[in-house]
Symmetry: C2
DNA sequence: CAGAGAAAAATTTGATCATATCCTGATGGC
DNA sequence: GCCATCAGGATATGATCAAATTTTTCTCTG
């Protein structure tokens, strides 16, 4: 979370030496967040050891962490899998995000500097580029990063933690949605948000992000209903 | 989470054999939740191994889990400690609970059976008894159990998980509050809630629990301000 | 005799431990 | 005041043990 300044003369020495379980955690987290693991898929420790070329202990610890965050599920028999969402779960997630994201956006609006806004604008531009190019992975990464940056700007660590944790729960399903509908036809509601933030209008920012959240979650819900009908 | 039915003739064989990391986790969780670990206190792996008479590996895994849930904090230098809350954190927690708890109470009201209500009433009676007897630990346990039971009744696993996780964050501080003001002088707002639930009035239940949450969190906030002035 | 079903062996996977290695912060000499 | 050394503690490995699943085999019936 925090970078401790190092006395090494070089401008940026951001990785003094990261523990293995931490790097494994980040890799695994990305795997979940960007849909490299499908909903319902089984996950074995030893499989991950091979896939990530790591020892058992760090992998086990990273898994515990993800399980605690709800990103993975421990199904009675000690086996681990990617959770399958049902309509109720999506409803809960939509409800939670409809409340958290606008609040955080409002706080972020009050605190963001011009540099912060430039950063967000740049991420959004990258996001648009990814959409144009049909780069789904790029889209998912930028979209997450965009929202995550807002969480960080809100200066509310606990709420940001909670909001961030929700992404891990619908990440796998979000990927399925995108696989279905492609990257095109995703209306970009981020522009409204950026306008509101630049204007310092917290309420408008909150409303803009609420619309974005509802639209995204609604798509997940529909995709889910479609899967249920098919399977 | 789920009980697998065993074929052993006996009525209840609920613990076929729980993994060590799981039992350790529960013990540690209780330690945090009920204030056996003070805010700011350092926690060492080897110390816990001795205290709980366990091996390092299960303790490490339990710690990772608690850290992921925000119950403990990993301070850059690989050391682990109980987080110290500031006013901003308490504000976040109050904000989150003011939104989550009422919603869950409303859902619980719609779903609770007569037996469920009897169970809640019994817990509340135990709680009153603990207050009368000045049994702080008993009070904290029953209070948690009361709210937790409502979360479970709401049939909203994700939101319940989030709400439950918040308790781990203010557990240590709550204990400090009680140590300061004693168990007496704690107005019991649970009666209003139970009345509303029995009447099937979800909105009233939500309002009753909101009052309870605000009162509790406000006490934590004041206690914290007092500590800051003193220390 | 063929096939369904159950017992049992085998394999896969998870859990734990003891131990070795590496960091971090502190102590003491220069 | 600075660098070397040291102790306490965290991290990671590999081996070992236990549980669960899968596969195999055997038996009993139609």
């Amino acid at each position: 979370m925090q970078e401790t300044a190092r006395k090494t003369g070089s401008a940026a020495a951001p990785l003094p030496r990261l523990p293995a379980h931490e790097t494994i955690y980040r890799q695994l987290r990305a795997l979940v967040l960007f849909g490299d693991l499908a909903p319902g898929q089984a996950v074995t420790i030893q499989g991950l050891c091979e896939r990530l070329d790591a020892g058992m202990t760090p992998v086990r610890e990273a898994l515990r962490r993800l399980i605690a965050e709800g990103a993975l599920e421990l199904q009675g028999n000690r086996r681990v899998s990617v959770p399958l969402l049902d309509a109720g779960h999506v409803g809960e997630l939509m409800f939670a995000r409809q409340w958290l994201d606008p609040h955080l956006a409002e706080r972020a609006t009050a605190r963001a500097t011009t540099a912060d806004l430039d950063g967000l604008t740049a991420i959004d531009a990258d996001l648009d580029r990814a959409i144009q190019q049909g780069d789904m992975r790029g889209y998912l990464e930028r979209n997450y990063r965009f929202h995550r940056t807002i969480y960080d700007l809100a200066d509310a660590p606990i709420l940001a933690d909670v909001a961030d944790g929700l992404w891990l729960r619908f990440g796998p399903s979000l990927r399925v949605v995108c696989g279905r509908i492609g990257t095109l036809g995703l209306p970009d509601r981020h522009k409204d948000l950026l306008d509101a933030m630049r204007a310092g209008n917290g309420k408008a920012a909150a409303e803009a992000i609420r619309a974005d959240v509802v639209q995204g979650m609604e798509q997940v819900r529909q995709s889910l209903a479609q899967s249920a009908r098919a399977g």
